[in-house]
């Protein structure tokens, strides 16, 4: 157990030592100056901010600070950028907006980050404290509105609390199971004169304790269960990436000799090119991952939360398995699936210890069975004809980027195809809204990721409908010279909605078909490069050009309109009851 307050003193003390020379004692500063100093001391060098009335003093102070500001075109975009910045860099993402509509526009972004446990601090302006509750201009009850979509939130009502609350916000956001924390900052606090010395802002969080190291007895029990298992499967989630545990996970998998599947958010936590990888499981997971989970005698969940898109029918999920669950959040344990051996703590710490108790097992029969499933039910698609298959675009981008790009997505069919057909080998290289399923996440996410990793190739696989929700951020990318690559898999539908309507609503395509503009022309109008590809043979060249571009580039791939995502576990079905498994001669297609 870590006492939060002592940690804070330590962290703040470190920061003060490097800062002391240029901050003489007992000097009064404005709340906005203190704000900038606290952020600098928390390691913030860039934030995503959209100004407005009550945050003007803060934006004014930012001009004199070392913190760079990226201005989005909409606060939702700014919030997604901060989120993706955090996902790509592992640091806390920061978004700064004004009161009222500025604050309410962050709600979708906060909820997205909250569902996926992304460390983020959102600062919202607020009207003067005496006006709060009076329905002032651009007033909203921001802490009330955002409480359900943040890990914690604050309103600063006294200038002397400002520094402490900001330090606490960063601490709470990045520790334990991370998440977004919001600080509502009234304008009179931002303009108040106050005293700030980094070492003096001591956190007061007696109710916030994080268990980082797992309980030894539980770790040994988990290791023994794994040693004894004949048909074990590891199921790893986003916690492996958030907890920086990918190397330890790989050690465990290799030493124990176990097949491993990951969730959507776990992609990149284990190298998918490794023969032990089963890739993704769940509703649109691979057949072999789903079969393996249903047949296993031990399921080791690491940093995953048994989401309904993973388990299918809960009562028939992994029916033969004993369940080990490693998670830093005690509320995740036995929330939906009853756990036999819970281990609460950080994935990195627990796996480091667990590996010491692991013995190598051969498991030839189990791997034989899995390889048989892999041979019989590979991920395939029909690439005949001259039309562009969306899966082909993803495979081709994966080939040309050698699987090394940072890949962002919107939400829908294209997201699932990306998860299936781009082979991820490195953590923090797949950035997608998993829990909330936020359409429109892709473009702002790509911007945030490119800001975090200026030298990386950042690709946004997007759907035409997802992209249309936030394409107003294209000029943000252009303005900041961010060479992000948008691969639009344009089928003129909300593809996943259409797929469900085809399968469950007798092909009645209610409201799911959109008349789209020329996205290449839209891109050009915004100052980006626009390319259109309509046939299969144009694809490799278009991707080559896109990757060579030094500015933001949008390629509009007109893909097969009614392609479906397979396999699929329909709602209420059990994981092994997949539709769309290959029935044709697989070897011929391969």
């Amino acid at each position: 157990m870590t006492k939060a307050s002592s940690r804070a003193r330590h962290a703040a003390g470190d920061a003060s030592s490097s800062n002391q020379s240029n901050s003489p004692k007992k000097e009064l500063k404005s709340g906005s100056q203190v704000f900038c100093e606290v952020l600098e001391n928390e390691g913030v060098d860039i934030l995503f901010g959209y100004p407005g009335g009550v945050v003007l003093p803060v934006f004014d102070a930012l001009m004199d600070s070392k913190i760079k500001v990226v201005t989005p075109r909409h606060e939702q975009g700014g919030t997604h950028m901060a989120d993706a910045y955090a996902r790509a860099s592992g640091k806390v993402g920061v978004v700064l907006v004004t009161s009222g509509p500025g604050a309410t526009n962050t709600v979708t972004g906060l909820a997205t980050a909250h569902m996926d446990s992304i460390p983020m601090v959102a600062i919202t302006g607020q009207v003067r404290t005496p006006l709060i509750g009076n329905d002032a201009f651009q007033e909203a009850d921001t802490t009330g509105i955002t409480r359900p979509v943040t890990k914690h939130n604050y309103i600063v009502k006294n200038p002397k609390d400002l520094a402490r609350i900001l330090h606490e916000a960063f601490h709470v956001a990045r520790t334990g199971r991370p998440g977004p924390v919001l600080v509502d900052l009234p304008v009179d606090i931002a303009t108040a004169r106050l005293h700030y010395e980094p070492g003096e802002a001591v956190m007061d969080l007696p109710g916030y304790r994080v268990r980082q190291t797992g309980h030894m007895r539980q770790i040994v029990k988990a290791a023994e269960a794994l040693n004894a298992a004949e048909r074990p499967v590891i199921y790893a989630g986003g916690g492996v990436i958030l907890g920086g545990a990918w190397a330890e996970l790989n050690n465990l998998v290799q030493k124990a000799n176990v097949p491993i599947t990951t969730t959507l958010l776990g992609l990149g936590g284990f190298d998918e090119n490794d023969p032990k990888s089963l890739q993704m499981l769940g509703m649109h997971g691979t057949a072999y991952a789903n079969f393996a989970v249903q047949e296993c005698d031990l399921l080791v969940a690491i940093g995953a939360r048994f989401d309904d898109r993973i388990t299918g029918d809960l009562s028939r999920f992994a029916p033969k398995a004993k369940v080990v669950h490693i998670d830093i959040d005690p509320t995740s344990i036995s929330k939906s699936v009853k756990v036999d051996i819970p281990v609460v703590g950080g994935a990195k710490e627990i796996l480091t210890e667990m590996v010491n108790h692991i013995e190598h097992r051969d498991r030839a029969a189990w791997f034989g069975q899995i390889n048989e499933w892999k041979r019989k039910y590979p991920l395939i698609y029909d690439n005949e004809g001259s039309s562009i298959r969306p899966q082909y675009v993803i495979e081709e981008v994966c080939r040309q980027t050698r699987g090394q790009a940072i890949v962002c997505t919107g939400v829908g069919q294209h997201q699932m195809w990306t998860a299936q057909f781009y082979r991820f080998s490195r953590p923090r290289h797949f950035i997608s809204s998993g829990g909330l399923g936020t359409m429109g996440f892709g473009l702002p996410a790509a911007i945030g990721a490119q800001v975090a990793c200026p030298d990386a190739t950042v690709v946004d696989f997007d759907g035409d409908s997802s992209f249309s929700m936030t394409l107003n951020e294209l000029p943000t990318a252009v303005e900041h010279g961010l060479p992000i690559k948008v691969c639009l898999l344009n089928n003129g539908y909300m593809g996943m909605v259409r797929q469900w309507q085809e399968l469950f609503y007798k092909r009645r395509y209610s409201s799911s078909s959109l008349k789209q503009p020329s996205f290449a022309a839209v891109a050009e109008a915004f100052g980006a490069v626009g390319i259109t590809a309509k046939t299969k043979d144009e694809v490799p060249g278009a991707i080559e050009r896109m990757l060579a571009e030094k500015t933001c580039c949008v390629v509009d791939f007109h893909v097969e309109r009614e392609e479906n995502v397979w396999p699929m576990v329909a709602t209420g079905k059990s994981l092994q009851e997949m539709d769309g498994l290959p029935t044709v001669d697989v070897e011929r297609l391969a």
Binding site: K151, G207, R211, T331
Partner: protein, 169 residues
């Protein structure tokens, strides 16, 4: 099944809203909720009576613990408790029934705190069953109003947090 949880929380703005919001968002049912100060001015105590099975109560306990300004949560399930609810009740008080009602008040060791021309106000404390019993007994005479604090509870032996060996709080 009714279960009693007790949470020590920081005296900070929004704590009650946070707790109430969590219950609503996760579809947990609060039977009663009583909040008051403790011997430490920085802390308040919430006594929450919840209806649910073992797994639900376990989730409630963990979700409560997860709220940042919640310092500690005690699950009193299975412990020997002193439970108290305080009720003010207004009962019709016609002259011909005064002796009967007076006798009931005495039997319950309750207290008459106000007498008007038509009604008597009685203060009753005790465990929930006693309070309920008093209401039921008074019903035939005509109950005008009931105000209750909700249950508070304290274990009889020195209280300690549950031994949650694999749990953060």
């Amino acid at each position: 099944m009714k279960r009693t949880l007790s949470a020590l929380v920081q005296n900070k703005p929004g704590v009650l809203a946070h707790v109430a919001q969590m219950f609503a968002a996760r579809s947990f049912n609060i039977d009663s909720l009583a909040v008051g100060r403790t011997e430490d001015p920085n802390l308040s105590r919430m006594t929450i009576v919840v209806v649910g099975d073992d797994a639900t109560i376990e989730q409630v306990r963990k979700q409560l613990s997860k709220i940042v300004p919640v310092v500690k949560v005690y699950d009193f399930t299975g412990e020997s408790l002193v439970e108290r609810d305080l009720m003010l009740i207004k009962v019709a008080f016609p002259p011909e029934k005064r002796m009967e009602i007076q006798a009931i008040v005495e039997m319950f060791q309750a207290k008459v705190v106000d007498i008007g021309s038509k009604f008597v106000m009685v203060e009753v404390t005790g465990p929930e069953e006693k309070i309920e019993a008093f209401i039921n007994v008074c019903r035939p005479y005509g109950v005008k109003d009931v105000v209750r604090t909700g249950q508070i509870a304290m274990p009889r032996h020195p209280q300690r947090p549950r031994d949650n060996s694999h749990d953060a709080k």
